[in-house]
C-alpha cells in the first residue's frame, strides 16, 4: 500500500500566490476548516458541465446500437428496404455521436486526476477497478461499432448484423461498470480505513459490487434507453407533424419509441426501489430529496416548495400527508431522518436536490403516461395515436427524457454533497490545488459549445441531404445497402 494520501499531500500553491494569500487571510479570519479551497467551485462546475454533456452522448452510445440492431434485424427478416435504410442512416448518426462521446469521455478520465487528484491518490486502487473493467467493455464497443458502421457494403448481411450484438452487450457492461464506480462514491465499500487514513483490506470486487451498483446501474441503463428511444423518436415525430406521414417516418418513430415505452414503466419501479435504497443507505440525501427537516414518522410528501434552511419551514409546496413515510417504508409510521439531524456543514443544498428530484419524477410520470397512451392505442387500433397532443408531447419527449436524466444525476451527485466519498472524504478534501481551474472551466465550456454546435450542424446537414433524396426509388439506385461495390466509387466530396 502506498503511503497515505493525507500524509503526503500538501496544502495550496506556492508562497505569494493569490490563492494561498486568500487562504491564509481566510484562515486568520475564520476557522481554517470552514473555508473551502478556491478551486472547489470551478472544479465542481467543470466536472458537472463536462460530465453533464458527456452523459447525453454516453446514453446514445450505449442505447443507439440496440435501436439500430432492431431496425436492421427487422429489415433482414421482413426484407424491408425502409427499415434497412433507417438502420443504415442511424448507424451514420451513431458514428458521429459515438466519436464525440469517445473523446468527451476521455476528457473525464483526465479530469479524474486533474480535478480530484486526492480522491484518486487515496482511493484509486479501491474504486479504480470498475473503470478498468469499463475500459475493456469500451474497447470491445469501439472495435465492433467500427466493424458494424463500416461493414455495410462488404460483410455478409448476417455477419454484419451479428457484429452489432457485441456493441449492445459491451454498452450494457460498460454502463454498469462505470456506474459501479459512481455507486461506490455513494456506498463506499471494499476497504478498511485506519485512524491515520491508511487503507487496509482492500477488496476491489466488494468495491465494484457495492450496495448501490445494482439499482444505480439498472436505473442508468434504463435511462440511457429512454433518452435514446425518446430522442430518436422525437425527430420522426416532428417530421410526422410536418405532414410526412409515410412509412419511413412511421417506422422511424415506432422502433425507438417502443423501446423507450417498454423501459419507462420498468424505470419507474426501479426508481422507486432506488429511492428506498437511498432512504436506508444515504438518509441525508433522502431528506434533501423530500425536504424532511425533523426526524419522525408520518412525513408528508412535498411536491414543489422551498425549504428555509434556517428554520426548517417548507413554503409553496403541495403537501400530501404521510405519503413520504409510506413511500419510504410502506407505512405512515416509518421514521424518516431529517436534515436537522446533521450539522449544517454536512448537508447538501436541499432545495436544489428536491427541485431536481421533483423534475425527474414529474417528467418520468409524464413519459409514463405518454408510453401508456401509445401502448393503449396501438393495442386497440394497431395504429399510431391521431391526437395532436400526443404528437406534440412525443416531439418533446426526447428533451423531456434528457432533462429527467440530468435531473436524476443532479439528485445523486448534488445530494451526496458535501461528500465526494459518502461519509469518508469531503469534496473539498479531494480537489486539486492547481491554480487556473476557472480558466480551464471557461475553456471547456467554450470548447464543448463549439463541439455541440458542430454536432448539430453536421447532423442537420445529413438530415437535409437525406430528405432531398427521400424518394426510396432514388435511393435504391444510387445507394444500395448490401449492394455490390462499384468499381471505384467517385467521391463527390472534396476533402479539405
Amino acid at each position: 500500500m502506498a503511503t497515505s494520501a493525507q500524509g503526503t499531500w500538501r496544502v495550496a500553491g506556492g508562497a505569494g500566490s493569490l490563492g494561498s494569500m486568500l487562504a491564509s487571510w481566510f484562515a486568520a479570519s475564520f476557522s481554517a476548516a470552514a473555508q473551502p479551497p478556491p478551486q472547489l467551485l470551478p472544479a465542481r462546475m467543470q466536472m458537472a458541465f463536462t460530465l453533464g454533456t458527456h452523459i447525453i452522448l454516453a446514453c446514445l452510445g450505449v442505447a443507439f446500437p440496440l435501436v439500430v440492431l432492431i431496425a436492421n434485424w427487422y429489415a433482414l427478416r421482413k426484407d424491408d428496404p425502409v427499415a434497412l435504410l433507417l438502420a443504415k442512416r442511424w448507424s451514420k448518426v451513431m458514428a458521429v455521436v459515438f466519436a464525440v462521446g469517445a473523446v468527451t469521455g476521455t476528457v473525464l478520465s483526465f479530469e479524474m486526476g486533474l480535478l480530484w487528484p486526492r480522491m484518486l491518490g487515496q482511493f484509486g486502487d479501491v474504486f479504480g477497478f470498475p473503470f478498468a473493467v469499463e475500459g475493456i467493455f469500451f474497447f470491445l464497443e469501439a472495435i465492433f461499432i467500427a466493424i458494424y458502421i463500416y461493414g455495410w457494403k462488404r460483410l455478409s448481411p448476417k455477419v454484419h448484423l451479428w457484429t452489432a450484438v457485441p456493441v449492445v452487450i459491451a454498452g450494457i457492461g460498460g454502463t454498469v461498470s462505470v456506474v459501479a464506480a459512481n455507486a461506490w462514491m455513494n456506498h463506499p465499500a471494499g476497504f478498511t480505513m485506519t485512524p491515520s487514513g491508511e487503507l487496509t483490506n482492500v477488496d476491489p470486487m466488494a468495491a465494484m459490487f457495492n450496495a448501490g451498483t445494482g439499482y444505480q446501474g439498472l436505473h442508468m441503463l434504463l435511462a440511457a434507453y429512454m433518452v435514446t428511444g425518446f430522442l430518436v423518436a422525437s425527430v420522426y415525430a416532428v417530421g410526422w407533424m410536418k405532414g410526412r406521414k409515410d412509412r419511413y417516418h412511421r417506422l422511424g418513430f415506432v422502433i425507438p419509441f417502443a423501446i423507450a415505452a417498454i423501459c419507462t414503466p420498468i424505470q419507474i419501479i426501479v426508481g422507486d426501489t432506488a429511492a428506498r435504497q437511498v432512504f436506508s443507505k444515504q438518509p441525508t440525501k433522502f431528506a434533501a430529496m423530500e425536504l424532511v427537516w425533523k426526524t419522525g414518522p408520518n412525513q408528508p410528501e412535498y411536491i414543489g416548495g422551498i425549504l428555509n434552511e434556517e428554520t426548517g419551514e417548507v413554503t409553496g409546496a403541495i403537501a400530501i400527508p404521510g405519503l413520504n413515510s409510506i413511500l419510504a417504508g410502506f407505512s405512515v409510521n416509518t421514521v424518516v431522518q431529517g436534515l436537522s439531524e446533521v450539522p449544517p456543514e454536512d448537508r447538501p443544498p436541499a432545495n436544489v436536490v428536491h427541485l431536481a428530484f421533483d423534475t425527474m419524477v414529474g417528467l418520468g410520470s409524464l413519459l409514463l403516461l405518454l408510453s401508456g397512451w401509445f401502448g393503449f392505442v396501438y393495442w386497440r387500433k394497431r395504429d399510431l395515436p391521431k391526437s395532436k397532443l400526443f404528437w406534440l408531447l412525443a416531439a418533446a419527449s426526447g428533451v423531456m427524457a434528457i432533462t429527467a436524466m440530468e435531473a436524476g444525476w443532479i439528485v445523486t451527485e448534488v445530494g451526496r454533497q458535501p461528500w465526494i466519498v459518502y461519509g469518508i472524504m469531503r469534496t473539498e478534501e479531494a480537489v486539486t490545488d492547481a491554480e487556473g481551474v476557472w480558466i480551464s472551466f471557461g475553456v471547456f465550456v467554450t470548447l464543448y459549445a463549439v463541439v455541440a454546435l458542430g454536432t448539430v450542424v453536421v447532423l442537420r446537414g445529413m438530415s437535409r441531404r437525406w430528405r432531398e433524396t427521400s424518394d426510396l426509388d432514388d435511393i435504391e439506385d444510387t445507394d444500395v445497402p448490401y449492394g455490390p461495390r462499384h468499381a471505384h466509387e467517385p467521391h463527390e466530396s472534396e476533402p479539405g
Binding site: 502506498a2 503511503t3 494520501a5 499531500w9 500538501r10 500553491g13 451514420k92 458521429v96 466519436a99 469517445a102 473523446v103 469521455g105 476521455t106 476528457v107 478520465s109 483526465f110 479530469e111 479524474m112 486526476g113 486533474l114 487528484p117 486526492r118 484518486l120 491518490g121 484509486g124 486502487d125 479501491v126 479504480g128 477497478f129 473503470f131 478498468a132 473493467v133 475500459g135 474497447f139 469501439a142 472495435i143 461499432i145 467500427a146 466493424i147 463500416y150 462488404r154 460483410l155 487503507l199 476491489p204 486539486t432 492547481a434 480551464s440 475553456v443 463541439v451 458542430g454 453536421v458 446537414g461 445529413m462 441531404r465 445507394d479 463527390e492 466530396s493 472534396e494 476533402p495 479539405g496
Partner: protein, 333 residues
C-alpha cells in the same frame, strides 16, 4: 512481482497507444501539410479511409493506460496530473478537437465545412502528441515530485520535455507515412511514392531529433541518459538498427517488412525508456514496487488483463484484418 507485471502491461499499453494511436495522429500531420483542397484531395481521402474504421479502437489504448495507471499506481497518477495539468489539459482539448473534427469532416459535403473540420482535425493531431510527449519527457526527466506540486510550467517547458514532445510528433508522422505506403500500395492509387518520400523525410527528422536528444539528455536528464546508455542500451541499438533499415528499404523502394521494422523501432525506444528508469516509476521519487496499490487490486487487474487478452486482442486483430482486406468501407450519403 504482480506490480512489475502490471507495470509491464501498462508499458505495453503505452507502446500500443504510441504505435497505433500515434499513426492516427500522424495521418493528421500529413493531412495538415497535404496542400490545397485540389492537390491534397487524393492523399487526404486515402488517409481518411485508412484511419476511419480504426482510430477509436486505437484511441482506447489511452483510456486503458490512464485507468490502469490510476488503479494500480494511484499516487503516481495523482502526482502526474497535479504537476503536469497544463500540458495534460491542452492534450485533452486536442483530443476532443481531433476526434470531433475528423468525425464531422467525414459526413460534411460542403467544401468550406470540410476545410474547417479538416483543419481542426489536422492541427490538433499535431499539437496533441506534442503535449503527450512532453508529459512523458517531464516524467522521465524526474520533474514530477511525489504527492506535491512540481512547477506547473518548468516541469514541461524544458529541453527534455520539448525534445520528447517534438520526437512524439515526428514519430507519429513517421509511423503514419510508413503505414500509408502500404495502404497506397494496396489501393494502387499511385500514392506510394508520395508517402515513401514523406516516410523518408520523417525518419530522417526523427533520427536527427534522436541525435540532438543525446546532447539534451546528457545535460538535462542525466539519470535517464545514464539508463539509456547502460541497461537500456540494447533497446536503443535495436531501435536505431530498425530505424536505419526502414530508411534504407524505403530509399530503395522496398515495401515489404518496413511496417514491422518501423513499429519495432518505436516500440524499442519506449521500452528503452522504461528499462532506463526501472525500477522507478517516477525517477528518483518512487519505484514500481512502492507505488503499487493493494495486492488484491493488482491481482484483479491481472484477471482483467487476461480477459482483455481473450476478448479484446482477437477482436482487434479481426478489425485490422478486415481493414487490411478492404472490407470496411464508408457508405455514401
Amino acid at each position: 512481482m504482480t506490480a512489475e507485471i502490471v507495470a509491464a502491461v501498462l508499458w505495453t499499453g503505452v507502446t500500443a497507444y504510441a504505435i497505433f494511436g500515434g499513426a492516427d495522429f500522424g495521418a493528421g500531420f500529413w493531412d495538415l501539410f497535404a496542400g490545397g483542397s485540389q492537390k491534397g484531395a487524393a492523399p487526404r481521402e486515402l488517409m481518411d479511409e485508412a484511419i476511419g474504421p480504426v482510430w477509436e479502437a486505437n484511441h482506447t489504448w489511452l483510456i486503458f493506460d490512464l485507468v490502469v495507471l490510476w488503479t494500480a499506481f494511484s499516487e503516481v497518477f495523482a502526482s502526474v496530473m497535479t504537476t503536469l495539468y497544463v500540458p495534460l489539459t491542452l492534450a485533452a482539448i486536442g483530443i476532443v478537437l481531433r476526434g470531433s473534427g475528423f468525425a464531422f469532416r467525414r459526413v460534411t459535403k460542403q467544401l468550406a465545412g470540410r476545410r474547417l473540420f479538416g483543419a481542426t482535425f489536422a492541427l490538433s493531431s499535431v499539437v496533441t502528441p506534442f503535449f503527450l510527449g512532453a508529459v512523458l519527457g517531464a516524467i522521465a526527466s524526474g520533474r514530477v515530485p511525489l504527492g506535491q506540486h512540481g512547477d506547473p510550467i518548468t516541469s514541461w517547458v524544458n529541453p527534455t520535455a520539448f525534445l520528447t514532445g517534438f520526437l512524439a510528433v515526428a514519430t507519429c508522422a513517421y509511423l503514419a507515412a510508413v503505414f500509408m505506403v502500404h495502404e497506397a500500395h494496396r489501393n494502387e492509387r499511385g500514392l506510394e511514392r508520395y508517402f515513401e518520400v514523406r516516410a523518408i523525410g520523417a525518419s530522417i527528422g526523427a533520427g536527427l531529433l534522436a541525435l540532438v536528444g543525446i546532447y539534451v539528455l546528457s545535460n538535462d536528464a542525466p539519470f535517464l541518459f545514464e539508463g539509456l546508455t547502460n541497461e537500456a542500451l540494447p533497446f536503443v541499438i535495436v531501435s536505431a538498427i530498425c530505424g536505419l533499415a526502414t530508411l534504407a528499404m524505403l530509399w530503395k523502394g522496398m515495401i515489404r517488412g518496413t511496417r514491422v521494422l518501423a513499429v519495432l523501432a518505436v516500440a524499442a525506444i519506449i521500452w528503452a525508456w522504461g528499462v532506463a528508469q526501472h525500477p522507478y516509476l517516477l525517477p528518483g521519487e518512487i519505484t514500481i514496487q512502492q507505488a503499487a496499490g493493494a495486492e488484491a487490486t493488482m491481482v484483479a487487474l491481472l484477471v482483467v488483463f487476461a480477459l482483455a487478452a481473450v476478448f479484446v486482442v482477437p477482436s482487434l486483430i479481426w478489425l485490422y484484418r478486415l481493414a487490411d482486406e478492404d472490407r470496411l468501407e464508408a457508405t455514401e450519403g
